[in-house]
Amino acid sequence: MNRIATIWLWRAASFAVAASFIALWQLIANLKLVSPVFLPGPDRAWASLMRGFSNGDLWSKLAGTLEHMAYGWLAASIAGIAIGAIIGSSRIMRTYVAPSLEFLRPLPVSAIIPVAIAMLGLTQAMALFVIAFGAIWPIMLATIHGFAAVEPRLYEVARSLQMSRLAVILKIALPSASPDILAGMRLSLTVALILSVVCEILAGLDGLGHWVLLSARAFRSADLFAGVILLGVTGYVTSVAMSMAEHRLLAWQASQR
């Protein structure tokens, strides 16, 4: 039997297993082993998902969450790479600034939320600040690390060509640090999604986080599960899109090896 057919056979079997778990879930719900207030069957969750999409409710919530995530993450990416490049390309900055950043890294970033609320109130700006603040760490630290790990001979070449610092950053350091930076950006994407949900829950901003909380408060469990499923799909799709982009952007490196 050829290999492709085997792979597809395994995949089909794997889907069948997943389907049987869903069937089990349906059975538990139908037999009311768990109160339907907490656990809707997959049929009810699916119906709620379809209803939400057809009347546009879920679309706007999904758009809200994606918007928070995207703005915060993009801001974090730009700032993280810029600050990381400044720190990473300078020996002085690396000795004086980088240790402080390493010290701040294990801080649970959500702890900044109350401070952001005190400064900015329960607003959109607060959410964006928190998301960007949380998402900047993996990107910035990855950039610093990537810059420090650049092949030293490349810097020697740059010096003998008398390239300016900006040219060194743009032409040598950034491309060679790009695998680290992209890996950092992928980590940040998850952070951005989680913080978006938390900020929506806390500040009542329009989005899926707020939607699932409201559904829970009203004991509309089908809507709640629909929202959670949609959040899972969001997490999955964004991370797949990111790895595809990574693959694309780093294709030149693979061909060099």
Partner: protein, 262 residues
Amino acid sequence: MTTDKAKEKAKEKVKALLLPMAVLLAFEAWARATHLQSDSLAPPSEIAMALAGAFADFSILTATRDTLFSTFAGLAIGTVIGLALGIAFGISDTLNRLMEVTVEAIRPIPSIALLPIALIALGFGYRMEIVIVAFACVWPILILSRAAVRSIEPRLMEVSRALRLPAAQRVWKIIIPAALPRIFVAFRLSAGIALIVAVTVEIAINPLGLGAGIMLAQQALRPDLMLAYLVWIGVIGYALNILLVVAQHRLFGRAALSGDSA
């Protein structure tokens, strides 16, 4: 030679401390000069006083205990489940392939999205927090322990087969010891995640622990206390990380480093 190196290291440490010291001093001076009145900022001296006050009335210690209890309980449950699944998937390729779709469908759900479900099913308190922390910890442990089991020297597995060890003994005597250094790396990563998730759940909704403490301080318009909590949460996160890194080096030395890149 070695003393020179030690001196060099000490110098580096002093240099690393210069920036935070300068920032704190500048901030203190600025706050004094402008007679700062703010709901969100407080001079470092007042933050230190608030922290001392919170220690004196034990409020911050109780909060720390509550947070760490949820963190470690969730971490323990998540580790056991993740490790069991990871080892099973690592040993049996068939099982791994069959479960692939199910695992990949559940894993990307952000842990915090389970918060409302846990809330209506379990109510406020330790239980819901522990469940969410455990959910968050299962995945990194599962993925990394599966990889660790797969990378075990095949000859070890051949030996266990030649000795006809029963499955339970094979896991206990061969697989776990061989994969332990990398499993510990996974555990270290998960411990960081567990603390983050616990604090986040507390900040978002659960009236318990450090997260609730910092939210209360904010709502009471006590920026000094709020920032004191922030500093303390940072210290806890840092201490937990250092503790586990040291434990890793003590227990496994160089063996664990190979797992860090994976």
